[in-house]
Symmetry: D2
Subunit: 393 residues, 4 copies
């Protein structure tokens, strides 16, 4: 490789990964604000307002909860709080994150039943219905909305209807879907949803954003093993945003600044507009990747995520080397496969600040240049042409 | 109260609390940097360099560990990882944080023995020696270096010598001491020390900074209950800073930017200079508070912290109202008592960006004005005069 | 001097100079915004809005003009544009800036008449009336509202009435008064007023802010020597803020961001509140300086500025050394005398972000410490006590 | 036009104009630094260091001068200072900026001779030699290196040799060339060169950066009409960077922060690397524009600028509408023709932060989409393919 345009010690120009997705200048400015003491009245007001903005974004009738800790903390806390020694859990596995959730569930549940499908597909709602038929004692269902490494989505509209019909509690990992793919927590009757600022909202990794239903609060309260006085406690934070209520421990003021800024931008733009640009960018990424000569990972077009596109790495190509070249020569950071998908799949993100019309053009050009540098034919012109054409609705 | 100079919805001018202590402009600028993807090579290098800077600041021969989560996460993780079902723990209690640590210790230990002293005093090393005489099976000792709400310090030099003599492991909460009060982890033979960026270093609340001795690593590795695959795992993060090692989960890139900036400033200024200005500000705060007409909380001058000064609230005065007035009329944020000390004690912080020559003058003037507004005689002139005189060594 | 707390290569903690006065964090954040192209529609809208905010702040019925260039550019441009070869100018001199304005006036006028008074006094309105009696052909009067280096003000209310009575045009240098001392451009019937962002508004040095009356526009248009196609042209910029009108040359987008932020903060706080805190800080600075043992420069209390306090340097003291010590030992930047006043006078600023209750306490403490270090008795306690007492209205 | 992806009140995503060219995050962070007082010792040191960095970037043996005021101020100041009542000026005109310079020259010179060529060509060195043959009394030659609106360059290597041979003084407008096209002020024996931060260096519009030869200093000193005590004075600022020398008036501290940051980045990257990426981006822009179906404005490939590419607007197309669509639908800001070229030409900038491998791809995609929206056939795929291929040397 000749002297790269973007040396490894210099920032890349474009973050088109599967997340964290970077942040807008307005969000970065918020992160640089002087750090108020968390007990300052100005911060109290700002925190309360942020929780209200989050509720507006969630479109729910209940106050959400902000947990201090990156998404995995929220997911672990959800398992620890919601899954007790009397719970029979149905865990849906269509990718790495679903599989991982089973490990947490098994730490706390009476029993964990799993439905696992190949990672280039998704869990059919009918399988969930079948599981309920076999085991009417299922109390909690866990599902990942968008499996980031696979770029696939589970059909929450259908699955949630089945779960609701059987009266089980529903835990949803909406980490890489909320803000990019339609999520209706109320219609789903979702009980505990975990999402984060650093994917489609374009914020920092350091908070978990939780929708918690009344039934979920009751279930946690009744769970003797639900953490309290711990970083994993959800119960401790239920009222932290209310005037006069103490914070269980020092919140990250900087992360809250960033979240407030993200939510203001999200609400100002409007959910429909935000979803629209995710859809358009996704169409362009998929059409462009195929025209470039690549194969999409998810076989069924209906399950391809609007927030991230996973493509198969051409045979004989070192996926790390490919992405390293895109980074060094074109300044574009892409994401690689994780776990079982390592070396087999790479991901083009189009979420948050990366879900704009020209984002897929940039990603495809970088990828095309890297492929050529490694001796793979890649029709960049065709890829860009297809991407641009797919942008129009 | 007339129209305040600093309304509740506007930022105060000065953070002179017991921490978080605010941040310098250079640190704030770092927090506003574009958020690199955590797998970007530029971030990998920056993370590794930050761990090296931290080791330099710690002055140790081993790589420290950065945990994702505010200080309490580090403290909880230390208990969960270091205290196993075969450990007999001696927990030293001279304040609220010491008492709280006992709760965590009891979750994991075979048995917890406590030495508790009144919260305006500290634990004598001789009491620790006595405890070992009675119970030679003590395996772990837990101690808080500086009890923030009381503004007192335990004599770690003496206590650590006793612990070392008996071959027990030593866990130290150095949250509000490191960077403001001399800490020699090596001489202490400390096994697990937890500190944070947001006190004397002037950083964000969102990380725990851990010194871990080789013996501690072995003890954790041998502890079957030590968390893995959890936000509370220390073991998972041991090698996270090494090239090619994955992060257990997404680190907060923004917090690492802030930490790097703090450490660079700390090392550039030099530990001796930093300690010197903490000592000078502390002398001024103590002398000024007494001249103002207030009584210091800690009876023994030898145990008064150089990072925070606790004073008794004059009889009949509402401590919250007093601080609210300092905030509204003078733009100065101070800290109040917590728990048992609530309403009885208030704290003037002088740590990190608040440990400069004029900081105590500002705090005392604000406090004096607020006292007067509530009808308490306060000799502001004498207070400032005493503070200024005490600045000179 | 021992190792200073604030080395010369590190930022001071407090800017309490006679201006530029520093900026709030909100203004600094605005300065760091991505630089829009000046022809971008988003910048066009922002520029127009900024001119409207400025008009609101000016409280006038006409659009003001923003010139690209620090205050002296605006003052020079005013002379070059407003003073033509047929103008007889009356220039009022009560300090260095008044004297300097005479030099510019003489470059362009038919004749310049001056009234000069000692620099610790101000020009009486009656002297202006006398001048008009002697010379009814005076067409333009030039006056400095606040003479920064002397900390004195000319009584614009009285002087402007005389000028209006005689139908002459009035040019006002309100550089260090607007935003800190009441200025009523409409009642004054002022024709061309020049002020800046970097004094009482807390902005950058890089723009001149001009109120221009209809009569002034006509006078400039009729002046064949009024600059056009030059950095000194006011006429070129008259309509630059209107949609579809080109900028005469590239404006400083960053400075406009800063100005917009300053004006939003000013209008949100409200002119009365802003003036009130300037008055309070000025009272405290004056009372405190005298109690510290210093002599105020301006003899007549009625002419002492609410934006800057000038004090006489004690005999035998090197004024530069004195300020250098305040800077090095207390982190406080003060201002020194200029020109004739060099070494004789120093200034404590209390303008913009430096006009808050504790600002004078900080300045006086720093000054007191520096005086003592040079062997001068300075009663810091008494100074602070007097300052604090004078804060209350 | 449907609801645009980038509404007019929101920032565009990409500034690919002919300048100002935007700024890197590191430069923006510098602009947001707390504003030091200009007489603070920390600023004195920073200013001096900035002048030294500029000299390094210029590669000259003499201290350069920083003037307070956007490029046109430097150009006007150069005319006012260098051209006196005894000077016969040869002004070379190959575009709008050259023509404008004649206006300034005529204000100050004894006589101005001009060579004008069509604006899609450049001035041949041989014509300059011819002019000297006819008029051996020429004392000053003025030339624009890169005519931004036309995207053309005059061959300074050849022209400067002719000027040097005849012993005349050489004034160069290097505003949009320095930092993007090789400039050797020493070999050229250039006497006064004006450039700016906001083009190839990626800084703010607010300063002029001047190389001044010893002969130029002598010529200005001997010119009785050279401004002093004016914003147009170069002489006043000659020694402003030296310790102990006063600033003629308040410099823009914020702009100097920005300049320092730009220069540090420029020198760290290295002049050769910077020039290399300008050349590569220029090749890609030109090849891509032609493949897209557009015609380049400059006929002779040898005179096409590496910093900006001018293309002819297709017949029947409204140039403003075309650029407005690129801005609204693709978030890309391009530049339009000015003056005579208005509506006929548009410019794709590739300078400073816009001179990276993918910049032309972005510009061409945006332009192609806008052309199509207006009914013009544009082969985006071919354009991008050609651009990408041209990137490789």
């Amino acid at each position: 490789m000749a002297q790269p345009s973007y040396p490894a010690d210099r920032d890349p120009a474009f973050n088109l990964t599967s997340g964290p997705s970077g942040a807008t200048p307005a969000t970065l400015a918020a992160l640089g604000r002087p750090i108020l003491h968390h007990l300052d009245p100005a911060f109290g007001a700002l925190y309360q307002q942020t929780v209200e903005l989050l509720q507006q974004a969630f479109g729910t009738s209940q106050s959400p909860v902000i947990l201090q800790g990156e998404g995995v903390v929220g997911l672990e806390a959800a398992a620890a709080s919601m899954i007790g020694p009397r719970d029979v859990v149905l865990n849906l596995v269509s990718g790495m994150y679903g599989r991982g959730y089973g490990d947490w569930a098994r730490q706390y549940a009476l029993e964990v039943i799993e439905i696992e499908v190949p990672y280039d597909s998704s869990v059919p709602a009918v399988s969930v219905a079948d599981a309920f038929r076999l085991r009417s004692d299922i109390t909690v269902v866990c599902v990942v909305h968008c499996e980031t490494p696979s770029g696939t989505v589970n059909d929450l509209d259908a699955i949630s209807a089945v779960v609701a019909e059987h009266g089980a509690l529903l835990i949803v990992d909406a980490v890489s879907s909320f803000g990019g793919i339609r999520c209706d927590f109320t219609v789903w009757q979702a009980d505990l949803v975990v999402t984060v600022p650093q994917k489609c909202l374009g914020g920092t990794a350091g908070l978990s954003l939780l929708h918690v239903s009344e039934a979920a609060w009751e279930h946690m309260a009744a769970n003797p093993a639900a953490p309290r006085g711990s970083v994993l406690s959800i119960l401790d934070w239920r009222h932290a945003h209310l005037a006069g209520r103490p914070f269980p421990f020092t919140p990250s003021v900087t992360d809250i600044y960033g979240l407030q800024a993200c939510l203001e931008q999200y609400l100002l733009e409007g959910a429909e507009a935000v979803l629209g640009r995710h859809r358009a960018a996704a169409r362009a990424a998929r059409a462009g990747a195929e025209a470039l000569g690549l194969t999409l990972w998810a076989r069924d077009p209906a399950i391809r995520s609007d927030t991230v596109t996973a493509v198969r790495v051409p045979a004989g190509i070192d996926e790390r080397e490919l992405r390293a070249r895109a980074r060094a020569e074109s300044g574009v950071m892409l994401s690689g496969g994780q776990g079982d998908l390592s070396g087999i799949v790479l991901q083009i993100g189009h979420m948050g600040p990366g879900a704009y019309p020209l984002s897929p053009v940039i990603a495809l050009t970088a990828l095309g240049r890297a492929l050529r540098a490694l001796g793979v034919q890649a029709d960049i012109g065709a890829g860009v042409e297809a991407a641009v054409s797919a942008l129009e609705p």
